[in-house]
């Protein structure tokens, strides 16, 4: 088994996707002025959400909606609610973060990183493993609940709840109607409606160039992650770094535990594990700035983008794949 992981991990490490991430990291560590304009980075992320949402929807329209889809979505929601509680407990034990910081970080780990998901999909592809199309919908369903758990944790542990009601009012709508959720779900639904015919029309836009775009996007993520790591060195206490590696593995096990009774394919299990293992870096940070402004953004951004994202990208996904294969066979 170790051999498989190692082979997988090595192959994974030498894929263009990872290498471009590493290039980005390296460039920012070397303080090169290489950068992707903000508008271009946003355009890339719109493309990715559009493409994976649509393809997921087409896959579902192809195989039909069934009880497993509903169960998986529910499982995702429950996991997204639950994982922050575990993460919070772990953080209080492993680190010296304040209640607010710990809750904010915990919220990130309950939610998901769509790029990690996409990277896992492409590892599955290269292994010839299929997965359920509705995993994309599960990803979308898991984005938001964790944020509520984080806020509940703060309230529960008596930290400053000084948020004026006026501010909190719009928050829930803002979280659920976050641009990336809307685009992902919207594209998913459109994919479901238009099905294979729709896909045929736009295939050469969303399928064939996908991996190349992903490389560029990961280059940018490497640049941003590296910049974050550089400027947040002081934040990275050993306990936190350890948490950033332990938590995804723990999360993936929870995901595996859920996927077995549901009966997901090996590919589907890997994706659910990856969703549980990954930490948000788009939707949750923005929500936290509004809802928990006292939480230190350089802590949660560095954890999510600087530690857990690279871990999942390089070692995590191959590990989850190995685990799922073992459990599935």
């Amino acid at each position: 088994m170790l051999e498989t992981i190692v082979t997988l991990a090595v192959n994974n490490l030498l894929s263009p996707i990872i290498l471009f991430f590493v290039l980005g990291l390296a460039a920012s560590f070397l303080r090169s002025d290489l950068s992707v304009p903000e508008a271009a980075a946003k355009a890339l992320s719109i493309y990715l959400l559009f493409a994976i949402g649509f393809k997921g929807g087409v896959a579902v329209s192809d195989h039909g909606v069934d009880r497993m889809l509903i169960t998986t979505l529910l499982a995702g929601v429950v996991l997204s609610f639950a994982i922050p509680l575990i993460a919070f407990g772990l953080l209080r034990v492993m680190t010296r973060l304040s209640v607010i910081d710990a809750a904010a970080v915990a919220g990130h780990y309950g939610s998901i990183s769509i790029v990690t998901f996409v990277a896992a999909t492409s590892v599955l592809q290269s292994q010839g493993l299929a997965s359920e199309g509705y995993m994309v919908a599960t990803a979308a369903a898991m984005e938001a609940p964790a944020i509520l758990s984080a806020l509940w944790l703060v309230a529960r542990y008596g930290a400053v709840a000084g948020d004026s009601t006026g501010e909190r009012e719009g928050l829930l709508r803002e979280i659920l109607l976050n641009g990336s959720i809307v685009l992902l779900v919207g594209s998913f639904v459109i994919g479901m409606i238009t099905g294979k015919n729709g896909l045929k029309e736009i295939e050469s836009f969303i399928v064939s160039p996908f991996k190349g775009v992903l490389c560029l996007f990961l280059l940018d993520m490497g640049l941003v992650a590296g910049r974050g790591l550089r400027s947040a060195r002081d934040v990275l206490k050993p306990g936190l770094v350890a948490f950033g590696v332990v938590m995804p593995v723990l999360g993936s096990l929870l995901g595996l535990g859920a996927s077995l009774p549901i009966g997901l394919s090996v590919g589907g299990s890997v994706l659910l594990m990856t969703l549980c293992a990954s930490a948000s870096y788009i939707a949750v940070p923005a929500a936290m700035r509004v809802a928990l402004p006292e939480a230190n953004p350089s802590v949660y951004l560095t954890m999510s983008l600087g530690i857990t994202f690279p871990f999942n990208l390089t070692l995590g996904v191959p590990l989850y794949l190995t685990l799922a294969s073992l459990a599935g066979s």
Partner: protein, 103 residues
């Protein structure tokens, strides 16, 4: 040219709070403001840059509002409520405006 005294308020605030700030300004009767993009900056929470960012979390915007002096207090109170717990800088300077009837 005839000009009139006014106050120029400049608020640098986190991008996710922009909507709340401008809503609060409007609720306080301030209908004129302009939002400028911000590339990066530095403060007590360290340096940051918008390059390559996808999330709005990491960015800021600058909101400029020019008001008659008598409206300044209302504006500042509205702004303060929003900025209070958040990262942000509020500064006010004197200015003269053309076409004062617009303010």
């Amino acid at each position: 040219m005839e000009t009139n005294k006014a106050k120029r308020v400049e608020i640098i605030i986190e991008a996710p709070m922009e909507g709340r700030l401008t809503d609060a300004l409007e609720a306080a009767g301030v209908t004129g403001f302009t939002v400028l993009p911000v590339l990066g900056g530095s403060g007590r929470s360290g340096r940051w840059s918008r390059e390559g960012q996808v999330s709005r979390a990491g960015g800021m915007v600058a909101v400029i509002s020019i008001v008659r002096p008598e409206r300044l207090d209302g504006l500042l109170e509205a702004a303060f409520k929003v900025v209070n717990r958040h990262i942000g800088v509020v500064s006010v300077s004197d200015c003269e405006v053309l076409r004062a009837e617009r303010f």
